[in-house]
């Protein structure tokens, strides 16, 4: 597919800052009695002075110079970049849902009912007994889940110090376990890309608090030995934690709870089509078995004789976020699940797996680990996966996740999701194959059609400019 990304301005600055377009100095009346120190107060402030169309054009231009699932395929493996349906936005925008969570329980019945049903839906989808909606992101869910596991062990006076994490796991697993105060034991992947049972046997001990596992794992392989894995971990007195990143592969077909998992988090921005936070509000609900429910964060929602109420679980770990979590995100997940229903979710999941397998079949490259489900790790072989990715940008598609997991050389972790049609999957395959067929000169000089070309990654990491205020004013 031919594609040219929008470009305004010059090579140095694609779009000027709002304050550069036009701004006005406004005097501020200062309070002489203000307790604030002088270096934290000012007498005037420079504000952009622009019409609404100017502001709208500014942000629309920025969005045109960016990439989104609304402009084309976005097969970023492990991220499940689903299309976010607009009806869910409409539901979230309904003023009936805009009630302050500090209002009386009586007047919150509508929102509590939605949250109660979402707890229930997620519990049923995951095969869990109880769910908290409070954690504000997937990684926050992981951290919460591990804190719940820790509270469980502590309640039994069982002092355990280690969490086992497979080498193929998401980086957040290592971080969540470490943040909860555990030593992380890394489990090497077996030759087939799955958990090596012998290595697991050797790794578990009376110090094992939990094993954190993604299933299907991060190259899309189903951990076939999950029952044996659960037995090994449980026999050692540990808990089994399910990372919900790849739940989109299983909806309606298999449930972590039935596989023996005790704790799990749900990435509603992946599986249930809420927007990826990008640092904004998110949600990472956590599901647990009956035995662990008493440790969940407070408050949770329950039904008592036809009314919904908030309550604190008996031995709660406390709060991990304000109120009941990020309502505006949760209500979108609720809307998505309710709209699709059992059959719709199962169908979405089946199509996600079908799309990944169809796309893989069309690619001229090696895929070392099979059979995969909703995503696959192709290898760029002798090429640099980053070069292949840059080349793909010129074809109007977003590239896959590159160079991860690390045990696949020059990995290109690809997850098209159920959102793509056969035509867009063919476009994606053409973009992949054009990059695989390109010579090294073409690869290294790509991309040529994007607003920004190659970014100086080292400089970006060494000297990050994290705010527009850090930018040099343009010369104009």
């Amino acid at each position: 597919m031919n594609h040219d990304q929008a470009r305004y301005g010059d090579d140095e600055r694609y779009e000027s800052l709002l304050s550069e377009k036009d701004s006005t100095e406004i005097d501020i009346e200062t309070d002489a009695d203000s307790p604030l120190p002088d270096d934290l107060t000012r007498d005037s402030v420079e504000l952009p002075s622009l019409s609404e169309p100017e502001v709208t054009r500014h942000y629309t231009r920025l969005s045109q110079m960016n990439w989104s699932v609304e402009t084309g395929p976005y097969p970023l493996g492990s991220c499940t970049m689903k299309y976010n349906p607009t009806f869910a936005e409409d539901v979230a925008a309904d003023p009936n849902g805009a009630v302050h969570p500090d209002r009386s329980e009586e007047s919150l019945q509508g929102t509590l009912e939605v949250l109660y049903h979402l707890q229930d839906y997620l519990a049923r989808i995951g095969g869990m007994d109880a769910v908290t909606l409070q954690p504000p992101a997937g990684a926050a869910g992981e951290f919460t889940g591990i804190l719940v596991a820790k509270a469980y062990h502590e309640s039994r006076d069982d002092d355990r110090s280690e969490v086992i994490v497979p080498a193929s796991a998401h980086g957040t697993n290592f971080a969540s376990a470490a943040m909860a105060g555990y030593d992380v034991v890394e489990l090497p992947s077996g030759d087939d890309g799955r958990v090596d049972l012998e290595a697991l046997e050797a790794a578990v001990s009376e110090d094992t608090a939990a094993l954190m596992l993604t299933n299907p794992n991060t190259v899309g392989l189903f951990e076939r030995d999950i029952e044996e894995i659960a037995e090994i971990v449980h026999d050692a007195g540990g808990l089994l934690y399910y990372d919900g990143a790849n739940l989109n592969a299983l909806l309606g077909r298999a449930r972590p709870g039935d596989m023996g998992f005790d704790v799990m988090h749900y990435n509603v921005h992946k599986t249930f089509a809420t927007p990826h936070g990008g640092g904004g509000p998110g949600a990472g609900p956590v599901g647990v078995t009956e035995e662990l429910a008493q440790f969940l964060p407070s408050p949770r929602v329950r039904e008592r004789s036809g009314a919904y109420e908030l309550y604190d679980p008996e031995r709660t770990i406390g709060k991990v976020h304000g109120y009941q979590g990020n309502w505006l995100v949760l209500v979108k997940a609720y809307a998505y699940i309710a709209r699709l229903g059992d059959a719709g979710l199962e169908d979405a999941s089946a199509k996600a797996v079908l799309n990944a397998n169809y796309l893989a079949e069309r690619l001229d490259c090696e895929i070392p680990y099979e059979p995969f489900h909703h995503e696959f790790a192709a290898t760029a072989g002798e090429r640099d996966a980053a070069d292949v990715a840059k080349h793909m940008l010129d074809h109007g598609v977003h590239p896959p996740t590159t160079k991860w997991p690390e045990f696949v050389p020059e990995a290109m972790l690809t997850e098209p999701t159920e959102a793509e049609t056969i035509d867009s999957l063919n476009d994606l395959a053409d973009a992949f194959n054009a990059a695989f067929a390109a010579d090294s000169e073409a690869l290294e000089s790509a991309p040529s059609k994007t607003t920004a070309r190659r970014i100086d990654q080292a400089d970006a990491a060494r000297n990050p400019q994290l705010s527009w205020q850090a930018l040099e004013p343009s010369e104009e």
């Binding site: 160079k403 690390e406 990654q457 080292a458 990491a461 060494r462």
Partner: protein
């Protein structure tokens, strides 16, 4: 070809230690810096910390990967190259010189025998 100076010994995991005296200067090899690509962050222990042979003492992060750093010999850290916190690129520019990481007061010089000679290390990287 990558530089492999003769005046030091190497680990299979690409760290080096100088061998001329009680104090060893530790860093990563030219081969390692090239494999890593542009280094953007280095995490090192503090002066006075103890390190033990083969145990990790820090982290080096590049635009490609995050890798643990392993101590070639045991001992007490007597100096840390704090310049790397502001200019991690020195690891790329001059791995055996300005890109050094630690100075270690060597506890047991016998441990140098466990390390690879320049020739043996060169062979490993070819």
């Amino acid at each position: 070809m990558f530089e492999v100076p003769e005046d030091r010994k190497y680990m299979e995991s690409h760290e080096y230690a100088t061998t001329d005296g009680d104090t060893a200067t530790v860093g990563i090899s030219d081969f390692a810096q090239d494999e890593l690509g542009d280094v953007v962050f280095v995490e090192l222990p503090q002066t006075g910390d103890e390190v033990s042979q083969d145990a990790d003492f820090g982290v080096v992060e590049s635009i490609k990967a995050v890798s643990d750093l392993y101590a070639p010999v045991s001992g007490t850290v007597t100096a840390v190259n704090e310049e790397l916190f502001d200019r991690p690129e020195l690891v790329n520019e001059d791995p055996y010189g300005d890109g050094w990481m630690l100075e270690i007061d060597v506890a047991d010089e016998g441990e140098f025998d466990d390390l690879l000679s320049a020739d043996e290390y060169r062979e490993q990287t070819e």
